[in-house]
């Protein structure tokens, strides 16, 4: 059956191209969209993920690290620093200014860090240095590009007069309109509204093996603050972001599956129509309906696999183009490829059912007519 299926498939090159192209299109749509989805989520949590912490301490009742009035008292931080099992505590002051260019406003999320501690601050620099002074700032490279600025240029926040010298550019630090930026802890102190407080603190443990337990112990002892396990915080952020985007993605996914299935189904159906006479010949010879269906299934799955290969290869190309040209984070994971492949095979199986009735109804006696 494989022989007949593959020969029939490759006999009609243009039809094959259309169906493989249709499947590939559906695959690209799915892989790239989920690549953007995963990339965006990963980038969004990058700040927490990359922070030098096992545990993050927030103000009580604060869900999001960057929203609301940030208040963690320095006194609490000092006490936690003395706790057994705690290796270090880094207080962080967070600010949310904006910068403007050509009437467009860009939101910054600034975190403070201690430039003398190399473990703090941004995860990487594409340009410049982490060793900044109190008048310097590290901004996302994508933001610098949008503002038309580079290292050495200066920046002034909206409704402010202080100018900041751009000392370095951070890759992958822009996400959903938020631009993660860094200034020194001492520079950030002048922005504190409530004395002796900071926005949050990063805690490192001496034994990072049991973070969840340690977080619980600290939480019990300090009910006035919110002690969070970093991994859990990352997961929570991912989930909450995912939940808001997933329905849209699922809708597009459904459309892609429909397109793919329809294209395979239609091409297989027209192939069966074209080959009605040959199907009749096979029936006269003695092929069973089940074997005919298997031929159709083989044809559909061959188309699917070809479309899948082309689609996956092109997805990487399209993903690369999107990430460079549109500055969107695209992360194509093995997982995405695996489930998209699985879905494609399901698509092929469903499509192969479309001509089943037609196949069964073909009368081999017709073959004897001229």
């Amino acid at each position: 059956m494989f022989l007949i299926a593959s020969r029939n498939l490759f006999q009609e090159k243009s039809r094959l191209a259309v169906s493989v192209g249709g499947v590939a299109f559906a695959i690209i749509l799915m892989v790239v969209l989920f690549g953007i989805y995963n990339g965006s989520i990963d980038r969004d949590v990058k700040f927490i993920q990359e922070s030098p912490a096992d545990i993050v301490i927030l103000r009580q009742g604060m869900v999001d690290m960057y929203k609301g009035v940030p208040l963690v008292s320095l006194a609490d931080i000092e006490k936690i620093r003395q706790e057994p099992g705690v290796q270090s505590v880094t207080p962080v002051i967070s600010l949310r200014p904006a910068v403007e260019k050509d009437d467009k406003q860009y939101n910054l999320i600034i975190s403070s860090f201690d430039p003398s501690d190399l473990s703090q601050g941004p995860w990487a620099l594409s340009q410049g240095t982490k060793q900044i002074t109190d008048d310097e700032i590290l901004i996302p490279s994508a933001l610098a590009k949008k503002l038309g600025k580079s290292v050495g240029d200066t920046l002034i926040f909206s409704e402010s007069t202080k100018s900041w010298r751009i000392a370095g550019l951070v890759p992958d630090a822009s996400s959903f309109g938020n631009n993660y930026s860094w200034i020194t802890y001492s520079a950030a102190q002048s922005f504190i509204t409530v004395p002796n407080t900071v926005s949050f603190a990063f805690v490192k443990l001496t034994q990072p093996s049991d973070v969840a337990h340690e977080a619980k112990v600290l939480q019990a002892k300090y009910p006035q603050i919110n002690v969070r396990d970093k991994a859990a915080l990352v997961q929570e952020e991912k989930t909450s972001l995912g939940d808001s985007f997933l329905p849209i993605l699922q809708a597009i996914l459904a459309i892609a599956v429909l397109i793919g299935t329809a294209v395979i189904g239609i091409t297989i159906y027209t192939s069966v129509l074209d080959k009605s006479r040959e199907v009749g010949i096979l029936k006269a010879i003695g092929i069973s309906n089940k074997q005919l269906y298997l031929t159709s299934l083989t044809q559909a799955l061959l188309t699917t696999v070809l479309g899948l290969l082309v689609g996956i290869l092109l997805s990487f190309a399209v993903g690369w183009f999107i990430s460079t040209a549109l500055d969107l984070p695209v992360q194509i994971s093995q997982w995405t490829i695996a489930w998209v492949s699985g879905l494609a095979l399901v698509m092929g199986c469903i499509a192969s059912l479309i001509p089943v009735k037609r196949l069964a109804s073909i009368d081999p006696a017709e073959v004897f007519k001229s």
């Binding site: 020969r7 029939n8 096979l282 006269a284 069973s288 081999p364 073959v367």
Partner: protein, 224 residues
């Protein structure tokens, strides 16, 4: 021994005004090693009879047996298997599968029967050689001459060694020389392998080699 029998077959197409009695109480037996020629004017019911014998058409009444098996007792599910094992069809228009090479066309019945691919290839190759078209084994049907196509088609019909060959005007689209060669092949199949061969044709040469000639007129059959 009769390989195939048809008793009191009646087949009516359509209803009412447009009713056509294609076969009217037709009976025919064909024994192993026998070549039977069915002649008759166009529209007399020859193809219809062949379809009924080949289990591709249900008669309105009458019984067909193949190797003593009443085919009407078989379900639609079992009929393809019966045709695959017992019957080879040869058509006026060759009816090769256009995407497959000559050799692959011959392999088809064996592949459907689930024979191993290497074996089917060997067997098809041998048969094409025997029928004198070994050189065209790798050609697509579109690149074959009429005579070559019909030899390939005959090889396909014979490859599973069916006990019955049913041929509907097998030489009508061939020149007289190749037509003669085709007749020769069918005759040999009946005589050398002891198979039943039923041929519908106007071809006089077949008349010369046929063991029996029957004539159909208006759906009625008579021995000549």
């Amino acid at each position: 021994m009769n390989v195939i029998t048809a008793q009191n077959i009646t087949k009516i197409y359509g209803t009412g005004e447009s009713k056509v009695t294609a076969l009217d109480d037709v009976s025919l037996n064909v024994a192993a090693g026998e070549v039977v020629l069915i002649m008759g004017p166009s529209g007399s019911g020859k193809t219809t009879l062949l379809l009924v014998l080949g289990t591709l058409l249900h008669p309105d009444s009458g019984v067909v047996t193949i190797n003593e098996q009443n085919v009407h007792e078989l379900s639609n599910r079992d009929l393809p298997g019966l045709r695959l094992r017992k019957i080879g069809f040869i058509f006026q228009h060759f009816n090769l599968l256009s995407a497959l090479t000559a050799q692959e066309n011959v392999m088809v019945p064996l592949l459907i029967a689930g024979v191993k691919s290497s074996q089917t290839k060997k067997k098809a190759g041998e048969l094409l050689k025997r029928l004198g078209v070994a050189k065209r084994a790798g050609s697509l049907p579109q690149n074959l001459s009429g005579g070559e196509k019909q030899r390939v088609a005959i090889a396909r019909a014979m490859v599973g060694s069916p006990s019955i060959l049913l041929a509907d005007e097998p030489t009508a689209n061939l020149d007289s020389k190749t037509g003669h060669e085709v007749v020769e092949i069918l005759y040999k199949y009946a005589k050398e392998e002891g198979k039943a061969v039923v041929i519908v044709s106007h071809d006089q040469r077949i008349r010369d080699i046929a063991d029996r000639v029957v004539l159909i007129e208006d759906g009625k059959l008579k021995e000549v």
